[in-house]
């Protein structure tokens, strides 16, 4: 499944980049994140609570950064699972920051392989949830940066 989205933040690109790498601050902006810890400078472990339809899932997982090209581009992988909904996710992601008039455009692309009960909701529900979470994330980010 592919999830693609972008939004504009009224802040200079460097500020946005620095903020994204300030893990404690960033994690406050990601809806559902309960904890994040850095394992090393490329690996983070965390817990995310997600509600899709009637199912509440608590994903434990690892984010590994594969490519970091400050202040423009990052790429990496996410692996996690949720026992209670018998679901798991493996994903690769790419995020880019591009200066635009009046701020910075943040764009991301995720190729996610979702399995188990959550996946059975079908593409439309998952994509809609992802859109909603992105909008919330953008709103939180703007509140911090603009």
């Amino acid at each position: 499944m592919q999830i693609k989205d972008s939004f504009v933040i009224k802040a200079p690109q460097d500020n946005v980049w620095d903020f994204l790498f300030d893990i404690p601050k960033l994690s406050q902006c990601v809806p559902g994140i309960e904890s994040v810890e850095a394992v090393d400078d490329k690996t983070y472990r965390g817990k995310l609570v997600l509600k899709v339809g009637p199912i509440k899932s608590e994903f434990g997982g690892t984010v590994t950064l594969i490519e970091v090209e400050a202040p423009n581009r990052i790429a990496g992988t996410v692996e996690g699972d949720d026992k209670s909904s018998a679901s798991s996710v493996k994903a690769t992601f790419t995020g880019t920051l591009t200066p635009v008039e009046g701020g910075t455009e943040a764009a991301f692309e995720v190729e996610a392989n979702l399995r188990g009960r959550l996946a059975q909701f079908g593409g439309p529900v998952i994509t809609a949830t992802a859109k909603k979470l992105t909008a919330e994330f953008a709103k939180n980010l703007r509140a911090q940066l603009e």
Binding site: K83, A86, L114
Partner: protein, 741 residues
């Protein structure tokens, strides 16, 4: 009685909601089952740890691969499927463990605590990818993933193609779909020592009995299979599915019964309709006749062979079509992939093959400048001709089927041009489809009748009632043949401990096969009654007949009940049997493929909105050859139901996978036809013949639906869709491509 539209015997119970479906079954001390399934499409070195799950209060037992003996593999012809996975998983949704608990809650809590570890392997999901060199291999015994190659060889292909003026080659595809019966798979099992009783929603109780006796190493008689009314089957309950797992689970519960009810999402990973890719190369002459047809079929069998080793050869003979073609070669391949196992789907294999050959009929006709209706009429088989298997065709009525369905559209002649639609961008078109389908070549049905001294007749039959009206049909045949009122008849079955053998309730065979077994049983019962009644009526046996529960001589009569009483008998039991034994050579496909060829046709009138690609089926008219109709109303409902069912795979049904994970396994994202999808005008007609043989009609009007609609769409807007389902999006894309050309 035969030929009368009596209401279904249980019609009141159906309307009142009091039919005892499996889902309502409650047994004393019954436990609830839950299956833990693979999330990986392909993995090895499977390790399952149940320690934490066993600690949940209420959990009684957990079944894993470690519990299984060497015989715990099953399949209709290739025993490749484990009762639960052993060491390896091959599709998302494959059972890895099962839990029996005091409550479903406890079972579900335990399910998340089962720790599963495996090493993932590369997976392959498409049949044609799976046969490429270097593709992931699923079963070592089949290194190229092909588990079945069925061949039909008839005539000299090179010479026949050389005679052709034009050669057409087209590929048609159908995606994976689901039978989607309203009732899911449900089974409950209980062991008493070495005796197993299983209550199950199955179309084939004796097949279930045989498989379970092999898996558990007990005599067939030690397995009792009880089948209540089914909430639909459509082939999805046609072989053996969850019964081995349910019985193996029950073996660990110290004699307590355990019941499993699958969720809708589980249904989608339990059995599917084969995805198929069918390439037809067909040679025609300018005079409108065929010279040759080469058909190559790839059936996506999923991870286990299941019933495919039988279905792939059936698909082979069902791929030729109802036309005289001097030279025919067919290669039909069953291929393993990392998808759930595929099985029979109403109109098995014909739904995919008719889509191919009837779509190509119109492609040929249009290119050659012939009318598609006339082209068909010119080439359709008639009785006495020979099919590509070498067998002579008897009692075939394809011409009438096509004519009658065309007439149902209400136009003076199928050749009358249509007004091309009203309103901006709306176009109307007309299309036809004809199908020819084999049934089970070798099968057997037995029936037993018990007459009591109160005049009541009990029919013991293993025909499964699944909403099709099979039991009502058998009651009508009994009433007519034995000469008793319908109200005196009671039906018992199926229960393998009580009711006699029947191969299966599928392939539209019951009315013909079980019907003839019932007729045979009625014959012996009548003979017995005449023998017993002859001295009482002081009339020789050949001067007697039966009527309304009486044996009648010229001027006097005596009731069946009184005959028994006067002979000091409480009951009389008589049996009947009917069987067919045909087959084709595995290397050449020559022989006799079926005791009877099923025949159906359809005609569609559709409207296409060229701005949106949206299709509306304005009229649909279907015809099936029935021989002799037992119950006209029920037959019509079957034929109508076939058309409505067929609209699903034609217009909307497709299981979508992402890395082997189905992402629409629910009836919100996977649409099936609803009342709103039914054509405004839907007609279906049964064609009868003077010979009066009864034939099944459970599928005949289904396979023509998809090609008839696709052909009508091309007639309307000039685009050809070759991949099912025909969505508005596909039509719109094709229209845009056409306008850019």
């Amino acid at each position: 009685m035969i030929g009368e539209s009596v209401p279904m015997l249980d019609s009141v119970a159906r309307v009142m909601g009091t039919v005892d479906y499996m889902i309502n079954l409650r047994l004393p001390k019954m436990l609830f089952g839950k299956i833990v399934r693979s999330q990986a499409p392909h993995a090895k070195s499977l390790k399952v740890d149940v320690t934490n799950a066993m600690r949940i209060p209420g959990v009684v037992a957990i079944l894993t691969g470690e519990d299984l003996g060497a015989n715990a593999f099953y399949g209709v012809a290739i025993k490749d499927q484990g009762v639960v996975a052993v060491d390896r998983v091959r599709y998302v949704g494959e059972p890895i463990a099962a839990i029996a608990a005091e409550s479903l809650d406890a079972a579900e809590q335990a399910a998340v605590l089962i720790d599963i570890e495996y090493h993932e392997l590369p997976a392959v999901f498409d049949a044609q990818d799976a046969i490429q060199a270097g593709a992931p291999n699923l079963h070592e015994k089949f290194p190229n993933n092909i588990f079945k190659h069925a061949k039909l060889r008839h005539g000299d292909m090179d010479a026949a193609f050389a005679e052709a003026d034009e050669i057409f080659e087209d590929t048609f595809t159908s995606p994976v779909a689901q039978q989607a019966s309203l009732e899911p798979h449900v089974s409950a099992a209980q062991w008493d020592g070495e005796h197993l009783t299983i209550w199950t929603a199955s179309q084939a109780p004796f097949m279930v009995r045989k498989s379970l006796s092999e898996i558990f190493g007990i005599a067939p008689e030690a397995v009792r299979v009880i089948v209540p009314s089914l909430g639909g089957g459509y082939g999805g309950k046609g072989h053996i599915r969850i019964e081995p797992l349910v019985a193996a689970m029950a073996r660990k519960t110290n004699g307590r019964p355990v019941k499993f009810v699958l969720s809708r999402a589980e249904e989608f990973v339990t059995v599917t309709k084969h995805a198929a890719s069918i390439t037809l190369k067909t040679g025609v002459k300018r005079d409108g006749t065929f010279t040759a047809r080469q058909a190559t079929l790839y059936w996506n069998g999923g991870a286990y062979a299941d019933a495919s080793p039988m279905l792939v050869p059936a698909g082979m003979v069902r791929a030729v079509g109802p036309y005289r073609i001097p030279a025919v070669h067919v290669d039909s391949y069953g291929v393993y992939t990392n998808l759930p196992p595929a099985g029979a789907y109403r109109g098995a294999m014909s739904s995919q093959t008719t889509w191919a050959y009837e779509s190509q009929m119109d492609i040929i006709a249009r290119k050659m400048g012939w009318d598609p209706f006339e082209f068909r009429m010119k080439n359709l088989f008639v009785s006495g001709e020979h099919f590509a298997t070498g067998e002579e065709l008897h009692d075939v009525h394809f011409v009438e089927c096509l004519e009658v369905s065309a007439k149902g559209l209400g136009v003076p002649s199928p050749l009358t041009p249509l007004p091309k639609g009203e309103g901006q961008g709306m176009r109307v078109g007309r299309g036809y489809g004809v199908m020819m389908k084999s049934t089970v070549a070798t099968s057997k049905s037995q029936a037993r009748l018990k007459l009591k001294d109160d005049g009541t007749v009990t029919l013991y039959t293993s025909t499964v009632e699944m909403g099709q009206g099979g039991h009502t049909t058998m009651a009508q045949i009994t009433a007519e043949t034995l000469g008793v009122p319908l109200r005196a008849i009671k039906i018992i079955g199926p229960d393998t401990a009580i009711t006699p053998f029947d191969s299966t309730t599928s392939a539209s065979r019951s009315t013909s096969m079980m019907g003839n077994a019932v007729i045979a049983a009625c014959g012996t019962m009548k003979k017995k009654l005449f023998e017993l009644g002859s001295p009482l009526l002081e009339t020789p046996v050949d001067g007697l007949r039966t009527e309304n529960g009486f044996v009648v001589a010229d001027e006097i009569s005596i009731s069946f009940g009184d005959i028994l009483k006067r002979n000091d008998l409480n009951t009389v039991e008589e049996s009947g049997e009917y069987s067919t034994s045909f087959g084709i050579d595995p290397e050449t496909g020559q022989g006799v493929a079926t005791p009877h060829w099923h025949q159906g046709a359809g005609a569609a009138e559709v409207e296409v909105d060229t701005e949106t690609g949206r299709i509306t089926i304005l009229k649909y008219s279907a015809a099936a050859f029935a021989g002799r109709v037992v119950n006209p109303r029920m037959a019509q409902l079957q034929n109508d139901g076939n058309v409505i069912f067929g609209l699903g795979p034609t217009l909307m049904e497709e299981i979508v996978y992402d890395g082997g994970q189905p992402i629409n396994p629910n009836l919100a994202d996977y649409s099936i036809p609803s009342i709103r999808d039914i054509p405004a005008e839907l007609i279906s007609i049964c064609i009868e013949s003077g010979e009066g043989e009864m034939h099944g009609i459970g599928e005949m009007t289904l396979p023509p639906v998809a090609p008839a609609i696709a052909n009508a769409i091309e007639d309307a807007v000039g685009v050809r869709i070759k991949d099912l389902p025909i969505t508005a999006e596909k039509i719109l894309r094709a229209l845009r491509e056409k306008s850019q050309r």
